[in-house]
Subunit: 215 residues, 2 copies
DNA sequence: ATATTTTGACTGAATGTTCATTCAAAATAT
DNA sequence: ATATTTTGAATGAACATTCAGTCAAAATAT
């Protein structure tokens, strides 16, 4: 069972730091959510997945509910950290920023089947659990608001006729829907999804964006 | 508890037809999924919601799993029946058909918080349950294929430069995402979602569709 | 340096709860 | 009278949670 030698000082030494154990358990939780879904994820599954004993989750997280909240928090932080970083890297021009956000959403690091499936497991429970809903909703509001600002800027520059609020809502919805379909539909690849998203913004902002990049 | 008098011959006569009982239980299941989510929906909840006794579900459906599959099947049939009917009513012109499909998706009868929440409960479980995935996926494929055909027709008529596959994927994804946000976000109304969807197709097919209707 | 004590992460068997399912009896219909 | 439907208590399986005990490493004493 305990095959790992001394090599991995963090992972299997009897005393790993509390933080290390916590993230180890959070990763195992994501694995289980992705493989088994929300309702079939048990603490036994998580503990087995982490290669630790049965009581371990309650020791580090007090309860199953708190483990799940910590897991969602972790994914949420990672996601919003990622798109905020992409925004920082992009220049100040609105078209560049939109381009960066769209590409960030389909980045290899963020947009894996494993993570999408875990997200979806939480979404399915979110409406009936205020805690999950709050965690999912918080980022979303920021994210959509960012798009409203950018669409407003492009409209001012380019003289498009659209309502920026409606446009931003449409774009954000499309990207969420693409994520969802990536998870559900085995035929769809990250590349195709990204291409569809870009085709759309290129169609909507023809003066600023084309399928091959920002003009 | 049992307040309903004789009035409702279908609902509380001791012998309601098997089919009547089944749909009564299916409706109670949708209620519970919407209120409590998938993982907190129990047979006791469903039976209570229907105003019947605890053992009743197993009598009519054999198992919880079969009740849930029947419920999903019911929602799926209703949904695809609705958009197919909308297509029949619309004329043969591609732009009219797209307009009809989009409006159908946000129709008052289909697009209720209750039903969206129930859909979402199933989506969250679908990736790890082949039966659900098959039921969700079947319609979706038809639906998206319908849009591919329509986008192809518009492209031929209007000389747009888009790839019809990518465009159809984008549109379907957006509508799914809008449904999702309708369920999650209390500030969003059916009317705003519909307006965003229409703005989207109007932007993409400017020669055929405007925000006020088909040209 | 070596031995002893203390610390705190970790284990896994035991416990109690929740829940789907079963079924014998009751109610109702034919 | 017989068949069908409904009830609700009983059953047992699955699961989260608890906790007394184990163990490795750190701290301290000799």
């Amino acid at each position: 069972m305990n095959i790992v030698p001394a090599l991995d000082g963090e992972r299997k030494s009897r005393k790993a730091s509390k933080e290390t154990r916590r993230s180890q358990l959070i990763e195992a939780t994501i694995d289980s959510l992705a493989k088994r879904g929300y309702s079939d994820t048990t603490l036994a599954n998580v503990a087995d997945g982490a290669g630790l004993s049965r009581g371990i989750v309650n020791f580090h997280f007090e309860s199953k509910e708190k483990l799940l909240v910590a897991t969602l928090q972790h994914m949420s932080d990672e996601y919003s950290g990622h798109w905020n970083a992409a925004l920082e890297k992009a220049g100040p021009r609105a078209a560049d920023r939109i381009w960066a956000l769209i590409n960030a959403d389909f980045d290899r690091r963020i947009c894996t089947k494993r993570k999408l499936a875990a997200w979806c497991a939480f979404w399915g429970e979110a409406k009936s659990r205020p805690t999950y809903q709050a965690l999912c909703g918080m980022n979303d509001r920021d994210y959509q608001q960012t798009f409203v600002t950018l669409c407003t800027a492009l409209k001012a520059e380019g003289g498009y006729g659209y309502d920026p609020e409606a446009m931003a809502l449409g774009i954000c919805s499309m990207m969420e829907g693409l994520w969802f379909r990536l998870m559900m539909n085995d035929g769809l690849t990250r590349e195709k999804a990204l291409a569809a998203a870009i085709e759309y913004v290129a169609a909507v902002f023809p003066d600023h964006i084309s399928t091959s990049g920002v003009k």
